[in-house]
Subunit: 351 residues, 2 copies
DNA sequence: CCCGAAAGTCGAAACGTTTCGAATTGAGGT
DNA sequence: ACCTCAATTCGAAACGTTTCGACTTTCGGG
């Protein structure tokens, strides 16, 4: 046995006494190949234990890696803890997989990790960002430098494909629904604002700083509805635990709210748990709204008033957008419809 | 402007009036480069808008893609719904990221999708399997053909790195704990057995067929403890919803169990919810055990008797294993310790 | 019996790096 | 002034494919 160099197409060609290009054509399925030639090549390949064309060489030569980068902000643990995000990703990854595209998980490039971050150096044909901050998003700059086509799930950017939702309007609808029930002291529990923080009461200007798009939109809805939230709690992640903490903060606040608008169902569920712990009845003592329309079996008999989103549809659409981008199309921007759904977690304000 | 061909190292070299190799050395950080030479190259690169060495070419030439494949069985939605899995992945992906390695998500190759599946064709340096079926695991064959080094999180295979846990012994400990409390009719709710199924009562031979390793180990524990489960319910995923369904099936069964051994905390939580719905008190009327040691805020005041696992440790260890594999080391096989933790979800059997 | 087209097959040139070993330069020692 | 050595820089050969135009055959038709 010689030193175990892995066999290449050239080896197969030599053994089959055929030209290299013929072997290539056999594997790539392009050009016309006669059946017996195909058989001959395959026999030689099997004899050598040839494992198929090297993906690395294919990538270099063809200029395509068949990989789509997926930029995850925060820790994966937080980002994927939300079943809604998961539904989007499931559809997205499934569809891309069927298109023969792999998904490369990329930690978001932070300002300090500028050097050697994967987004800048990994081999891929396109990228998908799960959210962007409205200012100061390092990922955008890197992608621009690399001239990579990309899409954004929550948010938009010039030159990027995007799937957007009218969450601002839908949230305003929720607030009006509460106002219609006579609520005057409405608190809100937001998704993380921008850079990582803790779950805590937020005192500053409502829309100040670099916010994630959904956070901004759903906060801006208060202005649209002409309501000023009596307490604003920022969560550190869309998780039940964070909701519980946020609930305690909100209910413990001087201006005890009679309603809480939560930017996700998971947060809303947590707030509901906090209410229970404090002996507050939902919706008798306090109304709670969520966002996403998750199925939370442990919350029953509570059925959140919320804004259902179709996560799978979102994922499918992004996959389509990526496909279009790879085909060289102009980056599509699509808006999904959204309507609020009234559950039993909201009712008339207590007197 | 000429046709927008992207600048290459050669262009940079030409503009800087320097040899191609010098530019390469500048970027790769290998070889000695004088400060002014580096400046000259960088200036030229900036002038051209050179985005850095092409990852595709680097991969071909160096034989390394800096990508680790991660094989996810089932739908992502199910696989990642379990916070425990998520903790493992978070640690794994974080560590690999710090080592400059990207993680490529790969749908598990099913027998029918044999052709053109990503595991067979994607460019990567190593792979990690989240679980294997003890027989009939197509992924193993593909990896062997490609001669890719790989590690397994739940399970083992010849030639593969692996992180294992004594879950069989720990589960037997749980069962003995229940027996010590006088339980005689013990049901069990398993993780999915093998190929995708529904949540349903399982009637067949306990250990028959191709099982996922954890499912097999934790079922085998019944034999070790000398107990025959009075009902066996197979879940379709480690999710609360599946646990609820399984609970209803178990409690609705003729031989109403006084204890339920669940193969994950999420399932256990669901079973507890089902018990509540049926007016059964935990642990007065029925004892429930879980696995993983998750923090389930919505289950309080119930604190599951379970087997805590350190997900982060698991992830870190796999990352280390991958590193070792890439360095050419023999595939390490590591067992993590495990002890049961008694909570308030188990008590004496009702008379 | 010759011509043109169709069907297969082949050669050779990329794709954009990394990685030697070799060549150049300048300084220091004698 | 000559030689050695260290510090840099350079040339050229891979890495393993895809792709395009060119080159054989083979075959039907005139």
């Amino acid at each position: 046995m010689s030193a175990q160099r892995r066999p290449t197409m050239a080896d197969v060609a030599a053994l089959a006494r055929v030209s290299l290009s013929t072997v290539s054509l056999t594997y790539s399925g392009a050009g016309p190949i006669s059946p017996d030639m195909r058989a001959r090549v395959e026999k030689a390949a099997t004899a050598l234990g040839y494992a198929g064309p090297s993906p690395r060489a294919q990538a270099l030569r063809s200029g395509r890696s068949r990989v789509v980068g997926l930029v995850i902000h925060e820790q994966l643990q937080y980002a994927l803890r939300d079943p809604f995000t998961l539904r989007v990703l499931d559809a997205l990854i499934g569809d891309l997989g069927e298109m023969g595209l792999g998904v490369l998980l990329l930690p978001s490039p932070s300002a300090d990790t500028t050097e050697s971050n994967l987004l800048a150096t990994a081999s891929m044909d396109a990228a998908v960002l799960m959210r962007v901050r409205d200012h100061d998003e390092p990922a955008l700059e890197i992608l621009a430098r690399r001239e990579l086509p990309f899409g954004i799930v929550e948010g938009t950017a010039p030159g990027a494909a995007a799937i957007t939702i009218p969450d601002r309007r839908a949230t305003a609808d929720l607030i009006r629904h509460l106002v219609g029930f006579g609520h005057e002291r409405i608190a809100t529990v937001t998704l993380p604002r921008g850079t990582r923080g803790a779950t805590a009461i937020y005192e500053g200007e409502l829309l100040a700083g670099a916010l994630w798009t959904p956070t901004r939109n759903r906060l801006a809805a208060f202005e649209d509805a002409g309501v000023e939230p009596c307490v604003v709690v920022e969560s550190h992640a869309s998780m039940v635990e964070a909701g519980v903490a946020a609930g305690h903060l909100a209910f413990g606040h001087a201006s005890r709210p009679t309603a809480v608008v939560c930017q996700s169902d998971l947060l809303a569920g947590g707030v509901a748990l906090a209410a229970r712990e404090l002996g507050l009845d939902v919706p008798e003592d306090v109304s709670i709204t969520g966002f996403d329309g998750l199925d939370l079996p442990w919350l029953q008999p509570l059925d959140l008033t919320t804004v259902p989103q179709d996560g799978a549809a979102k994922g499918h659409l992004i996959a389509q957008s990526v496909k279009a981008l790879l085909a060289g199309a102009e980056p599509p921007v699509i808006e999904l419809p959204l309507e609020i759904r009234i559950g039993n977690s909201t009712a008339h304000a207590p007197r």
